[in-house]
């Protein structure tokens, strides 16, 4: 177990991002302790500028997924503050709305709904937004084109390859036009070629202005990000 009294390591935004940019993500002295005393995050300070592409790497169990879950408002820190796009998640009441509009999530397992078509899987995250049924469909088609899956609209997830499923998951994450894309080991189950294509997509959306926070244990893939943040035993390792 880590010593909570040890001094934290702070990871500042990259030099390119520091030049007058606002922060998309700010973690200040964040601690996440699970029941039983396991400390997953140990006094983390991390800032990610808007439009930055950051990869968080580290061995299994080092706390990188926990960090991503806090930024995605899927979990609460034990102490410290998490700010995303200027909003303090620790005091925010409507986290559903935040998750719907501010962040797009891509998981290691694509988590597509197996009985829904590719198109419907993308549309499903747009229920409850201002979009009409027709607008949802048009947006889903547009996204499928962006992830180069046009023509597979009515396939079921079981009829797609692993890489194609993950691209559908990325399209779903982008559906509500979030400002921050969060990906948790998105290439973990893919072959190298498919993994490179997924990274191509992340670079593309980042180039279009979206902030990307990628969690991966693959250091080679991580080099495609603007900045690599390494973690070890719940702390930033430099």
């Amino acid at each position: 177990m880590s010593d909570p009294s040890s001094s934290p390591v702070t990871a500042p935004p990259s030099r390119q991002a520091q030049s007058g940019a606002r922060f998309a993500v700010e973690l200040c002295d964040v601690v996440k302790r699970y029941p039983g005393g396991v400390v997953a995050l140990d006094h983390i300070d991390l800032a990610i500028a808007e439009h930055e592409f950051v990869a968080v790497t580290g061995p299994s169990g080092c706390g990188k997924s926990t960090l991503l879950h806090l930024v995605a408002a899927l979990d609460h820190p034990t102490s410290g503050t998490v700010r995303v796009n200027g909003q303090d998640l620790t005091t925010m009441r409507d986290l559903s709305s935040f998750r719907r509009h501010e962040v797009g999530l891509v998981f290691q397992l694509h988590n597509l709904l197996p009985r829904l078509s590719v198109l419907a899987n993308i549309e499903v995250v747009m229920y409850g937004t201002h979009r009409s049924s027709r607008a949802r469909r048009e947006r889903a088609l547009e996204l499928l084109s962006e992830v180069e899956l046009s023509g597979l609209e009515y396939r079921l997830p079981t009829q797609l390859s692993g890489g194609e499923r993950q691209r559908v998951a990325i399209a779903r994450a982008l559906a509500n036009e979030p400002r921050l894309l969060l990906a948790d080991e998105p290439t973990g189950n893919l072959d190298p070629d498919a993994a490179q294509r997924i990274m191509d997509l992340f670079e593309k959306v980042n180039a279009d202005g979206m902030t990307v926070l990628l969690v991966t244990h693959d250091e080679k893939l991580a080099t495609r990000a603007d900045r690599i943040v390494k973690m070890k035993a719940g702390r930033l390792a430099g």
Binding site: L74, S97, H101, N111, L113, A120, V125, G128, R137
Partner: protein, 372 residues
């Protein structure tokens, strides 16, 4: 994909279970609707008797087990006639008799021939019976057609063989399916000398019907006036008890159905924990998750109600033709029966769906996503 279609997709993913659930809803709806329409049919038959006569209202004995047990003696009848505003008070004795297998509860009305006109009887063929005759009768035109009898035919009833002296019409299907006998003969056969079942009152011109009703209710507290079907329970307690039993059965069916629906929906929520967690993770609100589960319940309710009503039609038709129930049970489908079907189905599915829906909404997204 429109949102309701998404809910439908969830139901279609487990076709067998959804059909089973819809069948459970349909079964409960069928029971509730069949009970409602048959009790409504009984009520209609029972209350039809008060609408035979061309009168403003009927008077019966208060609180009897069923209307045909009402007894009004000659003195009470005379007191009714003396109430200010009563233009005419026609007493009739109503009884039932099994004529044959097709007519197990044939209605017989004892009435003085002098009251036939005021009662609203039009003689279509033949003539009225004599007041003191012991073996004469008239048949309503429906009864005559049904029995294949005509003027001059012999009709065995009231313990004797009667000559049909005339065929009449009252303009009321219930009255036209009955037979009329001289009041004294009917009283003698039923061993009720001087007794009538109902007194039909015609209010004199210029008097308020309600005021005359109130006066009779006040002056003859052992009797009650009946103008509408809803007032029928004042005299006939059986229908009141029957309605209470139907209401009780409905509540019971809704509760049992809700438990079945709730249990099955809960299983569905458990199976879809990961999926619901994903929906929460991508921004679905708790309210929307509740809405999804309840929408699925609603679809089941509508499908179940539709099937249930269809089954009720079929079951009612079968019951009406069961030999022991022929002529007794008449299904009377009203708009109310359809509303009852829908409300029963909605009650079952919404009450049953609320707990699973709440459970689904309270799932922590992260925990749900790691659910195996």
């Amino acid at each position: 994909m429109p949102y309701p279609l998404f809910a439908l997709t969830n139901l279609l993913a487990k076709k067998g279970r959804s059909l089973g659930l819809a069948a459970a809803v349909a079964f409960a709806v069928m029971i509730v609707v069949t009970l409602a329409v048959t009790s409504s049919g009984l009520e209609q038959s029972a209350t039809a008797i008060i609408s035979i006569a061309k009168a403003n209202f009927a008077v019966a004995q208060k609180g009897v087990s069923d209307l045909l047990s009402s007894t009004i003696d000659a003195s009470e009848r005379a007191r009714i006639a003396k109430v200010p505003g009563v233009a005419r008070a026609v007493g009739v004795l109503v009884a039932t008799e099994k004529i044959n297998a097709e007519n197990p509860v044939f209605i017989e009305i004892g009435i003085n021939p002098s009251d036939l006109g005021p009662f609203g009887v039009t003689i279509l063929a033949g003539h009225a019976f004599a007041a003191d005759a012991t073996n004469q009768c008239m048949l309503g035109w429906r009864a005559a057609a049904n029995l294949g009898l005509h003027v001059g035919s012999k009709f065995a009833a009231d313990g004797t063989v009667n000559t049909v002296t005339g065929i009449y019409s009252t303009g009321n299907s219930f009255g036209d399916s009955a037979a009329m006998f001289p009041l004294t003969a009917e009283q003698a056969y039923n061993r009720l000398p001087g007794i009538v079942t109902l007194v039909f009152v015609k209010v004199a011109h210029g008097y308020s019907v309600s005021a005359v009703e109130r006066a009779i209710d006040y002056r003859l507290p052992e009797l009650t006036t009946i103008r509408t079907a809803s007032q029928f329970g004042r005299a006939d307690r059986t229908l009141v008890y029957l309605k209470a039993a139907v209401t009780g059965s409905t509540i019971l069916a809704v509760l049992i159905g809700a438990i079945i629906v709730g249990n099955t929906m809960l299983l569905s929520v458990f199976e879809r924990t990961r999926e619901l967690g994903l929906l929460r993770a991508v921004g679905w609100t708790r309210r929307r998750i509740v809405g999804l589960i309840l929408t699925e319940s609603l679809v089941l309710a509508v499908v179940g109600a539709g099937i249930g009503v269809g089954l009720s039609f079929a079951v009612s038709a079968i019951l009406e033709n069961v030999p022991a129930l022929v002529g007794i049970l008449h299904a009377h489908f009203t708009q109310g029966a359809f509303w009852r079907a829908l409300l029963t189905a909605l009650g079952m599915t919404i009450i049953g769906g609320l707990y699973p829906a709440t459970r689904a909404a309270l799932l922590a997204p992260l925990k749900a996503l790691s659910y195996e």
